[in-house]
């Protein structure tokens, strides 16, 4: 790893680390004032538990050589206890390992939204470990493990056999988290008290700020170093962020009559979700449009979901699922061959194979993630109920589960 690349990835690492508290504040601020701290604990503990799992076997399962060359799962023991990280072999091992822990951690942290205000904290900690092993690890392997012809190492099937284009984890991270959040919400059932207004939108704003800034590190570091690709995806990410803000408030303006701050922030995130898989494949104008349509799609999906009364409290499926799918499909049609990825969208003369390759990847990701997460949560729930008691829920999880309250003098 060149020093300049190291310099950028070190900085990007710190930026991505900000996404955890950022997500905690975004989600916490959107809930009522009695379940803020619980949400923060869920999000931050995701990182802690993931780190442990990763050091043990997770990193190998994602980036290790495919077991049996099948492209299904990496060798769990390839990096066991990270002993290979201690010597400098020039590959940047420890830094990338740290980085991949954040990738996995943020995925499961997003899933927490499906459990907002009603899951036992102990059950959540167990869920995180199991989910990283059974859901994230295979999906991560499929998408992040590149085969290497020279050394003969075989990686994940989606990336290498199916030939999926996914720049920074639109499938393994965002669509995955979206589907899983939905599944968890379904197993848990709806909140008793019903939906409540966000209790602190400025807190949500701080969260959005940290999340979006971290995203620049997330996408930029996926370029692998301080290179032209990193420059390019920084530009497209910024443009998608801008387009996303405009897209969401445009829909709001015409549907509800008002542009809102929550909408603007939501749009920023949806725009970034949309660009994540295709940041290297669209042109600058395309990036603005990816942001705009992804955020519009998310805005539409939120309303649609509400009508079906699924209590995905924080809309992870709409924002990370639907916006991600929209971004991917946009690129299938409008990818710009002049962009670094060099792919022509169907509209610009590209082959239709792009469509079915992306289609299969999206579908498999969604189905696998949803079904497996549902199975995990359902099974855990059979063994010991994972939902808190009605009384605890009424009191609010901050107080009933964690014996603390977010604000002095405001006990709600």
């Amino acid at each position: 790893m060149e020093p300049a690349d190291t310099a950028w990835i070190l900085a990007a690492f710190a930026l991505v680390l900000l996404m955890f508290p950022g997500l905690a504040m975004l989600y916490g601020g959107m809930l009522n004032g009695r379940n803020v701290l619980n949400m923060v604990l869920m999000v931050l503990s995701s990182l802690a538990v993931t780190a442990v799992v990763y050091v043990a076997v997770g990193h190998g399962m994602v980036l290790g050589e495919s077991v049996g060359g099948a492209g299904i799962i990496g060798n769990p023991f390839e990096f066991s206890f990270f002993s290979t990280m201690m010597e400098d072999d020039g590959s940047g091992g420890p830094l990338w390992a740290a980085f991949y822990i954040l990738f996995a951690g943020i995925s499961v942290a997003l899933v927490a939204s499906g459990a907002a205000g009603r899951m036992k904290f102990g059950a959540w900690l167990v869920f995180v470990a199991v989910w990283v092993l059974l859901v994230y690890a295979p999906l991560g392997h499929w998408v992040f493990a590149f085969s290497d012809e020279e050394t003969g190492v075989i990686g994940g099937w989606m990336r290498n056999r199916l030939g999926l284009h996914d720049f920074a984890g639109g499938t393994a991270i965002h669509l995955n988290a979206g589907a899983a959040g939905l599944a968890l919400a379904l197993v848990l059932g709806r909140r008793r008290a019903g939906v409540s207004r966000p209790h602190n939108l400025p807190l949500m704003l701080v969260g959005v700020a940290l999340l979006c800034t971290g995203w620049m590190g997330f996408n930029g570091a996926t370029a692998g170093g301080a290179n032209f690709l990193a420059q390019y995806v920084t530009l497209t990410s910024l443009l998608a962020l801008a387009g996303g803000m405009l897209g969401f408030i445009t829909i709001e303006r015409f549907r509800d009559g008002h542009a809102t701050m929550l909408g603007l922030g939501t749009g920023a995130i949806a725009g970034l979700v949309g660009i994540t898989p295709v940041a290297d494949a669209v042109g600058p104008v395309g990036a603005l449009m990816v942001g705009f349509v992804a955020a519009s799609a998310a805005a539409w999906a939120i309303t649609w979901k509400r009508r079906h009364r699924i209590d995905d409290a924080l809309d992870v499926f709409a924002i990370h699922g639907i916006a991600g799918i929209t971004g991917s499909l946009f690129a299938v049609f409008f990818a710009n061959a002049a962009a670094p990825a060099g792919i022509s969208g169907i509209v610009f003369g590209g082959g239709f194979d792009l469509l079915w390759r992306e289609g299969i990847a999206l579908l498999v990701t969604m189905v696998y993630s949803f079904a497996m997460t549902y199975a995990i949560a359902w099974t855990m729930n059979k063994i010991v109920p994972i939902r808190v008691s009605a009384e605890d829920e009424e009191i609010g999880l901050d107080r009933s589960v964690h014996a603390e309250t977010a604000y002095e003098g405001r006990t709600f």
Partner: protein, 115 residues
């Protein structure tokens, strides 16, 4: 005229307010208070230090009513505010105080007309 004051559980404010409206009491005022009583307090922990939080959050509803409506209003409130099957400790209290005069700011109307 009378002023009915009801201290109830926060979770019941919406129900009480809706039921009162159905019963024809369209106006009322609500505020948050901290109450102590038979219901036990709780303990919170901050860095391992226990803080006894004796007070529980309650909502206080105030309702000006005509003399004749007092019984009806109380019945509605008590029915709507009760939680659990036969009421739970901490469900709260309702009390009535005499009011000598009421004025509506907008019109200057007095008493019954002002409620």
């Amino acid at each position: 005229m009378k002023l009915i004051t009801a201290v109830i559980k926060p979770i019941r404010v919406e129900t009480v307010s809706k039921e009162l409206e159905k019963a024809g009491f369209s106006g009322l005022s609500v505020s948050e208070i901290q109450g102590r009583g038979a219901q036990a307090g709780r303990t919170e922990y901050y860095r391992g230090q226990a803080f006894a939080v004796e007070f529980r959050t309650k909502m206080c509803i105030e309702l000006l009513v005509d003399e004749n409506d007092v019984d009806k209003a109380i019945d509605v409130i008590v029915a709507a505010a009760r939680t659990g099957d036969d009421g739970e400790i901490g469900d709260g209290k309702v009390w009535v105080t005499p009011v000598e005069r009421v004025v509506r700011v907008r019109t200057g109307e007095l008493d019954e007309a002002a409620i």
